[in-house]
C-alpha cells in the first residue's frame, strides 16, 4: 500500500550494500554502494556511517563516476575504521545524513591543500568547481606508498587548467616535506582567489594562518569527536561552535577567533586536550 511505504528520514540509518571496493594504498580503501542521496551531497557534507555491531563514524562523502553511487574512503587506524576497511562486497552498512554545511565555491585561481583522507571533500569540491577555474591540488602524505587520489584528481580536472602536486614527508615521491612548506613557496610566487583545506589540524591551522596573512579567502573542514551528528550531544564543540551543525566547514575569519582551533580537541569523555 502506497501510504505504508517508508519515507526516508535523513536521521535514520539507511542500509546499503557495498558493491565495489578499490584499494587506494596499503591502508586506504574506497567502498562504493548505491545511494542516490549520499551520491549527490554538497562538497564537504558528511554522513554518519554505521558498521553494524561495531560503531558509527562521521565520514566525508567521496565522489564516484557512476550516477547514484556513493562512496566512502577509509583509512584503517582504530578498531572501528579497521572494521569498516575490512568489510567485503555484499556486506551492509547503515548511513544517515547528509549532515553539515558545505564549501562556499569561489571562482578563479583555486588552491586545494589536503592530507590523507582529508582529500575526500576536496575531490568532491573539484567535481562542483567551474571548468574555467585554474585549480592547484597539494596532496600530502608520509611516503610514496600512501599517495592516493592522484589519478582521481587528474580525471576530475580534465576540463580545468590545473596542477597536481604530491608531497611526501620522506621525499620518496613528488616534493619533499610538509604540504604547508610547499604552500608557503606557492604563496610567495602566486596569488589565489580561494584556498580550501582538509586534513590534520596543524596543517589546516598553518594553512589558515598563511592565507589570512595574505588576505586570501580560506575555508577548512574540521574533525572532532562526534556522537550524534545533529547538534544534540555537544561532543564535537569547538569553543561555542558545534562542528556537526555549524560546520564542519568554517571560514578563516571565523576560525582565527576560536582559541581551540589548531590547539585543542575533546576526548570521548569531553576533556579538552592539546592536539
Amino acid at each position: 500500500m502506497k501510504w505504508l511505504e517508508k519515507q526516508r528520514d535523513s536521521n535514520h540509518p539507511h542500509i546499503c550494500v557495498i558493491d565495489k571496493i578499490i584499494d587506494e594504498t596499503p591502508t586506504v580503501r574506497t567502498l562504493y554502494f548505491k545511494d542516490s542521496i549520499l551520491a549527490n551531497v554538497l562538497p564537504g557534507q558528511f554522513a554518519m556511517v554505521w558498521i553494524p555491531g561495531v560503531n558509527e563514524l562521521p565520514m566525508s562523502v567521496m565522489v564516484s563516476d557512476i550516477d547514484d553511487q556513493a562512496a566512502l574512503t577509509v583509512r584503517k587506524r582504530g578498531e572501528s575504521s579497521t572494521a569498516l576497511y575490512n568489510l567485503s562486497v555484499g556486506q551492509q552498512i547503515g548511513v544517515r545524513g547528509p549532515y553539515g554545511n558545505s564549501f562556499e565555491i569561489k571562482d578563479g585561481k583555486i588552491l586545494l591543500i589536503g592530507g590523507g583522507t582529508g582529500l575526500v571533500p576536496l575531490m568532491r569540491l573539484i567535481k562542483f568547481s567551474n571548468p574555467s577555474n585554474h585549480i592547484t591540488v597539494l596532496m600530502g602524505s608520509q611516503t610514496k606508498n600512501e599517495v592516493f587520489f592522484e589519478e582521481t584528481a587528474k580525471k576530475l580536472l580534465v576540463k580545468n587548467s590545473h596542477e597536481i602536486i604530491p608531497v611526501t614527508e620522506d621525499g620518496s615521491y613528488g616534493e619533499k616535506g610538509y604540504v604547508t612548506d610547499i604552500l608557503e613557496n606557492l604563496l610567495e610566487k602566486n596569488s589565489y582567489d580561494a584556498i580550501y583545506t582538509c586534513g590534520p589540524e596543524l596543517m589546516m591551522y598553518k594553512t589558515v594562518q598563511m592565507a589570512q596573512k595574505k588576505g586570501i579567502f580560506v575555508q577548512a573542514s574540521l574533525e572532532r569527536m562526534m556522537k550524534c551528528g545533529v547538534g544534540i550531544c555537544g561532543s564535537c564543540c569547538v569553543n561555542d561552535d558545534l562542528a556537526c551543525r555549524d560546520g564542519t566547514i568554517f571560514d578563516g575569519d571565523h576560525l582565527s577567533k576560536k582559541s581551540e582551533f589548531g590547539h585543542s580537541h575533546r576526548t570521548k569523555s569531553g576533556i579538552l586536550e592539546e592536539i
Partner: protein, 303 residues
C-alpha cells in the same frame, strides 16, 4: 501590559523559564554562553560523575520517524573536577550542575569540587535509564534517595533539585522521599527506557541496545507526571520531556511547572528554539493577561 518571563523555582530565580535539559550540549562554557545569549534562562550540564566517563560506542542516538530520539550516550562526561575547573570563570550564565553517583559520599565529593564555582543549583540525576548502578537504580531505592538528599543538603546551601523518571518503582514515592528529605525542587521526567532494531541487519541499533526515549513521543507522559506531582506535593517543579513549542511549554506550566527543560527539539530547530519558545510564552501571557509566570503555574490543576 508587559508580561515578565522571570520565574521562581523555590529560592532560585531565573530571568526566563526555558532551560537546557541535562545531557544536551553540556560540556563547554562557550556553548553555555551561546545558549544563554540565545535565550536560555539556565543550562543544566551533562551529568557529572566522580571520574571521567567515555560513555558507550556509537551509535549512541537513534531518530524516531515522525519525531523523537532514543539515546544511550552512557553519561559520557569529563568528571566533576575537570568540569568544575572549566566553568570556574563563569559569572553570568545560570548553570545547574547535574550529578550522578551511586552513594551519598559520591555526591558530597563532587559538590566539594564546585565550591569555587558560580552554581545556581545542583540537579541530582536519579533517573538515567541506560547506565547500571547510577540513575534509575538509585531513584528506585527510596531509602538511598533520602540518604543522598539529606547528605547533600547538609553540605551545601545551593538549591538541590531531584530529577526523577519512570523506573521500576512508583516515581511518586521517589518524589515523596525527596520532598520529605528536604529537596528544593523536582525535575520530571527523564527519558524512558526504549530500543530500536534494524530490520535489514536484524540488530539493535544502539551499541548499548537499550536507551532512553526523548522528544515529542514522551511529552504527554511527562505532562501527566508533572500534573500528578503538582497535585500531590507542594514542591516547585521543572517540567521536562518532549517540549518543542511554546504551546508545549505553556501546557507544562499550566500543569504545575515553574520552568521547563528541553533539548531533543534542538536536533531539529537548533539554538533558535530558546528565543522562539520564550517569545511564544510571552505573547500568550500578554494575550491572557498574566503579568508573571507564577500566576500561571498549575492553573489547569486548580480548575
Amino acid at each position: 501590559m508587559k508580561s515578565s518571563l522571570t520565574t521562581n523555582i523555590g529560592s532560585l530565580t531565573l530571568e526566563r523559564p526555558t532551560i537546557l535539559a541535562s545531557g544536551i550540549l553540556g560540556i563547554s562554557l562557550d556553548v553555555f554562553k551561546r545558549l544563554h545569549n540565545a535565550g536560555a534562562g539556565a543550562v543544566v550540564t551533562k551529568s557529572l560523575s566522580k571520574e571521567p566517563w567515555e560513555g558507550y560506542p556509537n551509535p549512541t542516538i537513534f531518530s524516531i520517524k515522525g519525531g523523537g530520539w532514543i539515546n544511550a550516550v552512557g553519561l559520557s562526561n569529563p568528571g566533576a573536577e575537570t568540569f568544575a575547573r572549566m566553568i570556574e570563570p563563569n559569572t553570568d550564565v545560570p548553570i545547574i550542575v547535574s550529578l550522578v553517583g551511586s552513594v551519598e559520599d559520591d555526591f558530597e565529593y563532587m559538590i566539594k569540587k564546585f565550591e569555587k564555582c558560580n552554581v545556581s543549583a545542583y540537579e541530582l540525576n536519579l533517573s538515567c535509564p541506560h547506565v547500571a548502578k547510577v540513575g534509575l537504580e538509585i531513584g528506585d531505592d527510596i531509602e538511598l534517595v533520602s540518604k543522598i538528599i539529606k547528605r547533600v543538603k547538609s553540605v551545601t546551601d545551593v538549591p538541590i533539585i531531584a530529577k526523577v523518571g519512570l523506573g521500576k518503582s512508583d516515581y511518586l514515592e521517589t518524589v515523596g522521599a525527596a520532598v520529605s528529605s528536604g529537596v528544593d525542587a523536582i525535575t520530571a521526567i527523564n527519558t524512558v527506557r526504549a530500543m530500536a532494531i534494524d530490520v535489514e541487519t536484524q540488530m539493535p541499533i544502539l551499541s548499548n541496545k537499550i536507551g532512553g526515549l526523548s522528544g515529542t513521543p514522551i511529552k504527554p507522559i511527562a505532562l501527566r507526571c508533572v500534573y500528578e506531582i503538582a497535585s500531590k506535593f507542594d514542591i516547585p517543579i521543572m517540567g521536562c520531556g518532549g517540549i518543542s513549542s511554546w504551546e508545549d511549554a505553556v501546557e507544562f506550566i499550566l500543569a504545575g511547572s515553574s520552568a521547563v527543560q528541553f533539548g531533543s527539539v534542538m536536533g531539529d530547530h537548533w539554538v533558535e528554539t530558546f528565543g522562539e519558545i520564550n517569545s511564544g510564552i510571552q505573547n500568550y501571557m500578554e494575550r491572557k493577561g498574566y503579568a508573571t509566570i507564577g500566576e500561571m503555574v498549575g492553573k489547569a490543576k486548580r480548575q
